[in-house]
C-alpha cells in the first residue's frame, strides 16, 4: 500500500514584491491542494530584506491551511552575511530546513534536514551518505532521467527517506557568481538596483535568429520551456517518488496545483490535463526531455505514439 503522492510548492525563485509574495502565499494557504510549501530566498541574498519580516505570518497562515512549511537555504553562499544567514537558518527549531548549498551541511550534521534540488545528489551512494548524516528527504536535480530517478526512489524506500521530482515550471539550469540581470542593464551585482523585479517569471534570452531559448533570473539561468510531467504522474507514483514539486510562476498556481492534484486523483487523463494546463495560460512550450534522457528542451508526447 503506497501513501498518497504529495504536492509541494517550491520556493519562489524570482524577485516578486513583498505584496505579491504575501498575496501568493495567502492564496496558496487557503485554496491550493498542496501538502508542503517551501519558503525562503534561494537565489539572491540581496533580495532577502524585503520579505524577512513576513515569514512568521506567512508560515503561520500556511500551517493553518494544513501545509507543512519548510525553509529553503540560499543556493550560492559566498559572503559573510550569507554565511551567517545559513548558520541562523540551521538553528531554527520549529521548521525543517531544505539545504541548497553544502555550507549548511557542516552545521546540520546529526540533525534532520532536507536536500534541495540544487544539491548534486545523482546516485544512491551520495543519497545513502547524506541520509546517514540526517537527510530525510531529497528533491532531485531536474536533469536526472527516469532511469536514475527509479533507482534513487527505490533506494530511498530502503533508507526510509522520501523523494521529490519537479513536475511543473521552468527548470533551473545553471548558477553563476555574476548577475546576468544586472549585466543586461549595463550594471553590476553590487549596483543592480533590483532590475530583476521587472521580470517576475525571469528575463527572456532568445537566440540571434529569434528562437526562444533561456530565461535569466539574477545569477540563475533557467529553461525557457516549462517542465510538464502531468503525463508521468502515475509513473512517478509507481517508481515510489513521494512528492511532486511545482515551481511558482505568475500564472494561476492554485489552478495549476488543483490540476495536478486532480490528475493524481485520476479525474483527468494526462492529455486532458495538459490541455487544461495550456488553458491556464503558460507563456512557453512544455518540456519533458530530461525525464526521457533526451535534450531537456524537448517535448516527447508518449500518448501520441502508436
Amino acid at each position: 500500500m503506497t501513501t498518497k503522492m504529495q504536492l509541494t510548492i517550491a520556493p519562489i525563485l524570482f524577485h516578486w514584491s513583498a505584496k505579491e509574495k504575501l498575496d501568493f502565499y495567502f492564496r496558496i494557504a487557503d485554496e491550493a491542494p498542496v501538502d508542503v510549501v517551501y519558503l525562503g530566498e534561494v537565489i539572491c541574498s540581496k533580495r532577502t530584506p524585503f520579505f524577512e519580516k513576513h515569514y512568521d505570518e506567512v508560515a503561520e497562515r500556511l500551517k493553518r491551511g494544513g501545509k507543512t512549511v519548510v525553509f529553503s537555504t540560499l543556493a550560492e553562499v559566498m559572503l559573510k552575511r550569507e554565511r551567517n544567514m545559513i548558520a541562523g537558518f540551521c538553528e531554527l527549531e520549529d521548521y525543517e530546513i531544505e539545504v541548497n548549498d553544502s555550507s549548511a551541511l557542516l552545521h546540520l550534521s546529526g540533525k534532520p534536514f532536507r536536500i534541495g534540488s540544487m544539491m548534486n545528489v545523482y546516485n544512491e551512494d551520495t543519497m545513502a551518505y547524506l541520509a546517514g548524516l540526517g537527510a530525510t528527504h531529497f528533491s532531485l536535480p531536474p536533469e536526472l532521467p527516469r532511469n536514475s530517478i527509479a533507482i534513487l526512489a527505490q533506494h530511498a524506500g530502503r533508507l526510509g527517506v522520501t523523494t521529490e521530482v519537479q513536475v511543473f515550471g521552468r527548470a533551473s539550469l545553471a548558477l553563476s557568481a555574476r548577475c546576468y540581470h544586472a549585466r543586461a542593464h549595463g550594471r553590476i551585482k553590487d549596483n543592480c538596483q533590483f532590475v530583476c523585479e521587472e521580470d517576475p517569471d525571469g528575463m527572456p534570452l532568445n537566440t540571434i535568429d529569434k528562437q526562444e531559448f533561456l530565461t535569466v533570473n539574477g545569477i540563475q539561468t533557467l529553461s525557457h520551456s516549462y517542465i510538464n510531467l502531468l503525463g508521468e504522474l502515475s509513473n512517478l507514483e509507481k517508481l515510489g517518488v513521494s512528492h511532486c514539486r511545482l515551481v511558482p510562476h505568475t500564472q494561476d498556481m492554485v489552478a495549476v496545483a488543483t490540476l495536478f492534484r486532480d490528475t493524481l486523483d485520476n479525474k483527468y487523463s494526462a492529455r486532458e490535463a495538459s490541455e487544461k494546463l495550456t488553458a491556464v495560460g503558460i507563456p512557453a512550450p512544455f518540456s519533458n526531455g530530461f525525464w526521457h534522457g533526451k535534450p531537456g528542451h524537448q517535448w516527447i508526447d508518449e500518448s501520441a505514439r502508436v
Binding site: 550560492e76 553562499v77 559566498m78 554565511r83 553544502s102 555550507s103 549548511a104 551541511l105 557542516l106 552545521h107 540544487m118 548534486n120 545528489v121 545523482y122 546516485n123 544512491e124 551512494d125 551520495t126 551518505y129 536535480p141 531536474p142 536533469e143 536526472l144 532511469n147 536514475s148 530517478i149 527509479a150 533506494h155 527548470a171 539550469l173 545553471a174 548558477l175 553563476s176 557568481a177 555574476r178 546576468y180 549585466r183 543586461a184 542593464h185 553590476i188 551585482k189 553590487d190 532590475v195 528575463m203 527572456p204 534570452l205 532568445n206 537566440t207 540571434i208 535568429d209 528562437q211 531559448f213 533561456l214 539561468t221 529553461s223 526531455g289 530530461f290 533526451k294 535534450p295 528542451h297
Partner: protein, 332 residues
C-alpha cells in the same frame, strides 16, 4: 612564502610528457570515459597509457592527480569506483573528486591516497570546505572561480586544507558542477557525462553574405560577420537577444580566457598552495608554452624578483584575456 605547486593539464600521454618536461610540479588527467569532466573524443588515457605515464611523471618528480570529478548517475557508480581502484593500483598521487558518494568510497577504500575536492564540487565557503575536510579528510580544495583575492586570503585563514586556484585558461561563466545548460540543449550532461558543448552537435553554417552561424543542437549560439573570428559555440559565451538590451550581446561573457599572470604574487601571498592551468583539450604546444611561462614566473617570484611574464594572449580564447572574479567584485 611557500613555493606553490604548478598543476598542469594532461589531456593525452604526449601532453603529459610535455608538461613534465616543461617543469610541471603536478599534472592532472583522467580516463577515457564519463568519470572525468573533460570526456571529449580523442582525449584522456587508457589504462596502459596511464600506467606508463604515471611512471614517466614520477621519474620526472611530477605528481599525477587523477580527475574522477563527475557525478555518477544512479546505477552507474561502479564505473567511478573502477576508475578510483585503477588509479590507486597505478600509484596516482591524489584523486580529484566532486561527488560525495565517490569521495566517501575513496576515503574508506584508499585512505592513504590524498583527496582533492574538485572545482566541480563548488565549495565556496569555509563551512562547505570544512564539511568535506571533516567527512572525507580532504587535503586540498580547488576553489570555484568566483572569489576575489581578498576573499581567498580570508578563506586560507579559516580552512584546514590547501587551496588550489585556476590561473590560466578557458573561463566558464557558470559555477562548475552547477550547470546543466549542455544537457538542456544536447541530451548530454556536463555533470554526469563530463561533456560541455559536444563537438558532435556543433554546426557552422555560412549564409550567402558570408556570415557564419554557430549552432549547438538546434539553437544558434552566435553569428559572425566575415571580419570576425568564429568562436566555438559554448552556451555561456554566445550572443543573445533580450528586450532590455539593445541588439545581440554576450549575455553571460564574451569568448575570453582567464590569465592571472600579473596577480600571481598576490595569489601566492594570499596562501594559495597550488596554481592550476586549464586546458586538457588543448594542444601540446599550448601546454609547452603556458607551462614554461608560468614555471618561469613562479620561480622568479620565489627568487624575490619581479615575475617575467611572457605574452600568452595568442593562446587565449578569442585572443582576449580577463582576470575574472579574482581582481574585483565588479566582475559580478
Amino acid at each position: 612564502m611557500k613555493r606553490p605547486e604548478l598543476v598542469c593539464p594532461a589531456g593525452t600521454p604526449s601532453a603529459m610528457r610535455t608538461a613534465v618536461d616543461a617543469g610541471a610540479d603536478a599534472v592532472y588527467c583522467g580516463f577515457q570515459n564519463a568519470t572525468n569532466a573533460r570526456n571529449f573524443p580523442g582525449l584522456n588515457f587508457t589504462v596502459p597509457e596511464m600506467e606508463k605515464s604515471v611512471a614517466h611523471a614520477h621519474a620526472g618528480n611530477t605528481k599525477v592527480l587523477l580527475a574522477v570529478n563527475t557525478f555518477p548517475p544512479a546505477g552507474k557508480v561502479n564505473l567511478w569506483k573502477e576508475a578510483v581502484d585503477t588509479g590507486a593500483r597505478l600509484g596516482v598521487d591524489a584523486f580529484i573528486v566532486a561527488d560525495i558518494g565517490v569521495a566517501d568510497y575513496i576515503a574508506r577504500t584508499h585512505p592513504g591516497i590524498r583527496l582533492h575536492l574538485s572545482v566541480q564540487a563548488a565549495a565556496s565557503t569555509p563551512e562547505a570546505i570544512k564539511f568535506y575536510c571533516r567527512q572525507f579528510n580532504v587535503k586540498r580544495v580547488v576553489l570555484p572561480r568566483i572569489l576575489t583575492i581578498p576573499e581567498i586570503r580570508n578563506m586560507a585563514d579559516e580552512i584546514p586544507c590547501e587551496i588550489e586556484t585556476f590561473i590560466f585558461g578557458n573561463h566558464g561563466l557558470m559555477v562548475e558542477g552547477r550547470c546543466s545548460l549542455t544537457n538542456y540543449i544536447t541530451g548530454l550532461s556536463t555533470n554526469m557525462d563530463g561533456v560541455c558543448s559536444p563537438a558532435a552537435q556543433v554546426q557552422y553554417i555560412k549564409d550567402d553574405a558570408g556570415n557564419l552561424s554557430t549552432k549547438l543542437g538546434k539553437f544558434t549560439i552566435d553569428c559572425f560577420s566575415c571580419d570576425e573570428n568564429a568562436g566555438y559555440p559554448t552556451i555561456c559565451k554566445g550572443r543573445y537577444l533580450t528586450p532590455a538590451h539593445d541588439g545581440a550581446y554576450y549575455a553571460f561573457e564574451e569568448p575570453i580566457s582567464l590569465n592571472l599572470s600579473s596577480l600571481l604574487p598576490d595569489l601566492m601571498a594570499a596562501g594559495v598552495s597550488a596554481l592550476k592551468i586549464e586546458g586538457r583539450q588543448r594542444s601540446r604546444s599550448y601546454v609547452k608554452t603556458v607551462v614554461t611561462a608560468y614555471r618561469r614566473a613562479v620561480d622568479s617570484i620565489m627568487a624575490g624578483k619581479d615575475p617575467e611574464i611572457s605574452d600568452l594572449l595568442a593562446l587565449t580564447e578569442g585572443q582576449k584575456e580577463t582576470q575574472g572574479a579574482f581582481k574585483s567584485k565588479a566582475w559580478r
